[in-house]
Symmetry: C2
Subunit: 217 residues, 2 copies
Amino acid sequence: MSTTTVTSKEKAFSEVIRERRSVRAYDPNFTISKEEMTELLGEAILAPSSSNLQPWRFLVIDDQQMKEKLLPIAWNQQQVVEASAVIAVLGDLESYKLADKIYTRAFEAGYMPEDTKNAFVERTVKTYGSLPKDIATRIVSTDGGLISMQLMLAAKARGYDTVPMGGYDAVKFAEAFGIGERYVPIMLIAIGKAAKPGHPTVRLTVDEVASWNEFTN
Amino acid sequence: MSTTTVTSKEKAFSEVIRERRSVRAYDPNFTISKEEMTELLGEAILAPSSSNLQPWRFLVIDDQQMKEKLLPIAWNQQQVVEASAVIAVLGDLESYKLADKIYTRAFEAGYMPEDTKNAFVERTVKTYGSLPKDIATRIVSTDGGLISMQLMLAAKARGYDTVPMGGYDAVKFAEAFGIGERYVPIMLIAIGKAAKPGHPTVRLTVDEVASWNEFTN
C-alpha cells in the first residue's frame, strides 16, 4: 500500500470532512490574500457540473467597506464583517453561452475531436437555451451546491473555516452589488480564521435517510 | 508542523479533488457491500444543509434487476448496469417535518438548551412549511448539490469512482421507483471500480468566473 506524508497544510480527506463545521466567530484582523483566494477557488472549480458548463460565478467581498454594505442585507450576522471574506456564489442562468468557449478549449487541449466538439456545442446551446427558467434555476442551484461544498472543504484543508449562509435578502443583495437577472444568488460563504470553534451538530442516521432498491421514506 | 501518514485508503484532500473525474466505464463484477456503502453515506451526510434540515434522501440501487429497470430511464447509459451501484439523490420538500426530531436530538446531545430548541423548531416549521414550492425546490437542489459533492469525494477517497448523471427521465424514474411528489430527484450518481479512467476536462479560469468586491461578469 503506497503511503504519502501529509503536513497540516495537506490534510487527509477524512480529517477535512470531520473537522469542517460551520463557524460564526472569526478573527477580524486576519486576511486572506488575493493570491491564496485564487488558489482556493482554483481547487473548488475542479468540481463537476451539468454538461461541464460551470455556471458558478463568485463575487469575493473582502473590502471592509463592502462587507459593511453587506451586513444589514445579511441580517447583521457578525461573521459578514469579521470573516476575512464573504464569497457570494452565483449561478449563471445563461452559461450555455460559454459552451463554445469551453468545448473549443477541450478540443484545443486534445480532449475531443472537432466534430464531437461542434455537435456538443450545438446540442448544449439548443437544450439549455430553451429551458424554462425554473429548470435552469434548479440546475444552477445543484451545481452551485456542488461547488460550494468543494470550496468549503478546500478551505478547511488549508486551515480556514467557513459558514454557508442562506439567511440574507437575495433581492437587496443583487441590487446592492449590481447582479443582473442572469445570475441567481445561491449562497454566501463566510471564510476566515476561527476565533471560536463551531458548535457540534447532529445528523439523522444513514438508516433514516437511505433505502436500498426500494424507496421506503 | 504536525504530520500524519496517510495510506492509499486515507488520501490527502488535495489528491482526492484532483483525482476525481467522471468515470463512465466500470468493472461489472465489482460489488460494494451494504456495510461499506453505509459508511460512505455516513461520511457524506456530515455535509451542512439549510437550517440543518438534512433534506437529502438516498435510494441505493445495487440489485442487478433494479439497475436493468433503471437503464432505459437513464437513456441506456451503460454505467447504470455496470457500476456497483447507482445512488439516486433525492430532496425532501417537507424535511421541516423532521425539525422536531433533529433539534430534539441536538438538545439531548447537550448542544442547545431546551427553550432554544423549541424556538428553532417553531420558527423552522413556520418558515419552511409555508415556502412556495419553487423556493423549497431550490433549497433542496442546493443542499442536494452539497451532499452529492461530499459523497463523490468520499467515494474517491476510498478508491472508488463516480459519475454524476443529470441525463435521465425524472418523471419516469419517480414512477418506476415509487417516489412520491414530496421528493425531488436531484441526480443519479453511479459508483464503482473504474474499468477505464475518466476523460480529462477543461475549466474556465478563476479570472473568468470570479470578481472581487464589484461584480464584473
